[in-house]
Amino acid sequence: MKMAERTLDGGRLPLLFIGSVTALLVTPVLMIVLQAGADSGDQFRHLASTRLPDYVRNTLWLALGVASTTAVIGVGTAWLVTLLDFPGRSFFRWSLLLPLGIPTYLAAYAYTDLLQFSGPVQTFLRTTFEWTRDDYVFPQIRSLTGAIAILSLAYYPYVYLAARAAFIEQSVCVLEVGKTLGLGPWRRFFRIALPLAWPSVFAGLSLVVMETLAEFGAVDYFAVDTFATGIYRTFMSPVPHALTSAAQLSALLLLPILLLIAAEAFARRRARFFHTSVRYRAQPPERLRGWRAALAVTTCAVPILLGFLVPTVFFVRAHLRSGDSSSIAAFLERAQNSLVLATVASVLAVALALLVTFARRLEPSWANRFLTRIAGLGYAVPGGVIAIGVLIPLSWLDHKIGDLADSWLGISTGLLFTGTIVAVVYGYLTRVMAVSLNLVQAGLTRVQPSLDAAARTLGARPRGVLRRLHLPMLRGSLIAAGLLVFVDVIKELPATMIFRPAGFETLAVRVHELASQERLYEASTGALAIIVAGLIPVAILARTLDRARPGTDTDPDDIPIGAETVT
């Protein structure tokens, strides 16, 4: 019931550990910021006077649009499948995660191909009704709205996961109190469930927003000028100060993100006090009937249909018509590369996240809280740029080592990091740590401090607490984190492109090559592979999420999976 604010101190160690990990992760971001300090001629002034206003406006609308849409879809569906019962509930509970598997830029290609003026849908309309372009108004898919739609469909699962876990784990007692105090379902939702779930939901949302801000492919394809596209455009242009001005834009983009992080820190402040009851009791979901049930089913079905089914079917058809011509062997090799990289990255990301958050729990000092917050900053910087941020320190290190080896041993080491898997993985980590950190952190707030206290008084050392209490209770969170990272990495492009060793290809790279040559249909094969690679983890994730949480019986249908699941 009561949660002591202070948990048990671990002395200096936590700060040291958190500090070094964070340093490792934010160095690339710092590099970019430093780069921004350099002189870019009057590039920046020029941008500010011409494009910047657009960037700001579009970015703002995009972020707001996506955030609000994902919030509605994610929270709504989570509430439905957690606390209500209707046909197909247990199916939706995991299939709502499927859109995670689909890279946004591919979804964008697919939808554009379907809905653009020359696409089948409009062509069909024209031919059947013998319209010409002026006879009808068709919503322009390549537009801000289109982008919002696509991104929302791709990102809502983050919020869904977060909200669902939160609902489940609180479903125990406080909602019951709400009932005895005369609150109907709706008021229970808005006055208890939502406020309690908010920090978790916010964690999910902040991931969504950061990902949106960093999104390039889809947004650019939709002809929406955001900071991300602007940064790329500037970076790609064959002009002397390209990098610097790109860095300056990025730095500008970081400001609101820092605010966001501060805001989240604020929202999370309360999260530490959650969980007023030590009783976990599953509350039997209320069964819906008639039109209500129908409504619930549609609400859950639509996101899956649009976010997953349509693009997948599109790529299957494309693949069948004219798939990737390259050899199976080459294809398998790419797949293998992708999977290996993703696995390594996700394992590392989760392990680090767990240790960092645990250290922070041991010593929740102001410094540690702040450091863990900013550790994930890289997630909000467009991949291509953060990649350069990674490149700078790595190559510097390479040279230092090279010189040392040269002067001392007289041998030439060549480049130890850049152009190696090491660099690629490091690049990934700087990007995706935000995901694992957020999820694990949120999961940890579900483990009452008084449980730690109990374990400690029973002679468990911090290590023991981590192993015997947190690991089992966080199993779900950890797996979920790992798999989200996995999916993200499978889709990752820029870092892979820059750092991969010569001749090293991944699925995403391949798809990008073809797509960049506008060879969509051939790209479909790789796209499908990515989707499949993304699906497997989603399936696993789904299964773990549906397993009973510690402290519950085993009927998966009215089980709180919360303490074990994610936000």
Binding site: L47, S237, V344, M497
Partner: protein, 336 residues
Amino acid sequence: SPEAPSSDTESQADSAPATDQVVNVYSARHYDTDEKLYAAFTDATGIDVEVTEADSAALLERLAREGDQSPADVFVAVDAGRLALADSRDIFQPTDSEILNQRVPENLRHPDGLWFGLTKRARVIVYAKDRVQPDEISNYEELADEKWRGRVVIRSSTNIYNQSLVAALIDALGEEATEAWCEGVVANFARTPQGGDRDQIRAIAAGEGDIGVVNTYYLGQMIASDEEADREAAAKVGIIFPNQGDRGTHVNIAGAGIIKSAPNQANAVKLLEFLTEEEAQRIFSDGNKEYPVVDGIAPPVELEPFGSFKDDPVNASVFGSNAQAALELMDRCGWR
């Protein structure tokens, strides 16, 4: 770095230690046909080709950071502007190869042999056969003409080909005139610039726009495509080589230069020379529908019907020197 041990060994292997049996290529080109080329080169010379593909900007950064430690021997870019930029970063070493000099035309290589064009692509005007007469437009300047109001489709100014086109125009017309032209074109847009060159062709075929500007090989590829829809779309459009009356059509190149610190300089030269041989040039044109740089080698069959054309003799390096101006100019005109 926590991962260091895990893949230390790999990294040794990856940063290919210099042996005269390899040549390391940093390439901003990603075409399947290129693999064929490299394979052919290896067959011919027994030299392995290690390719690292990425966006040219990133590659340039990497080259710059790697400095003298870099394993790279050759840098390949799909645009003269990029080559010029690389040059301005002073990463190339001059190559004095008889073969290259006589095979690659003057205007398609660096005066001091820092880089050489390998293929040629013309940026042409395409039009809807059913709605536009071929004689209605004959040069880029006319794209700004009132009569095309709401009929022009073209991709965004982020695209390097447009940047180079404008850079060339600045060279030809001067900055004011070009800006005026640019404003005119923007005014004529049928839709916000979006998609790639194929999308422009499709849009014209579908009637969303009447004329557009694309690179020749995209049209070639669509004509050769095994996609029904693409072939139909391609069939609906005709092309015009602009400015045949005067300076000639704006052409751009994919080219390559040899890196200063190249560990395998000799192999690098061999590679470039091989790429300008007839066989290689054929693969470029047949495989990718690009125009060969070497005279006397037939253009891609798909493009033959459009006949031969006179290309703008301006040295491609101006694309680089004017890039900044071009970019800012397009920004000012609101060309997204």
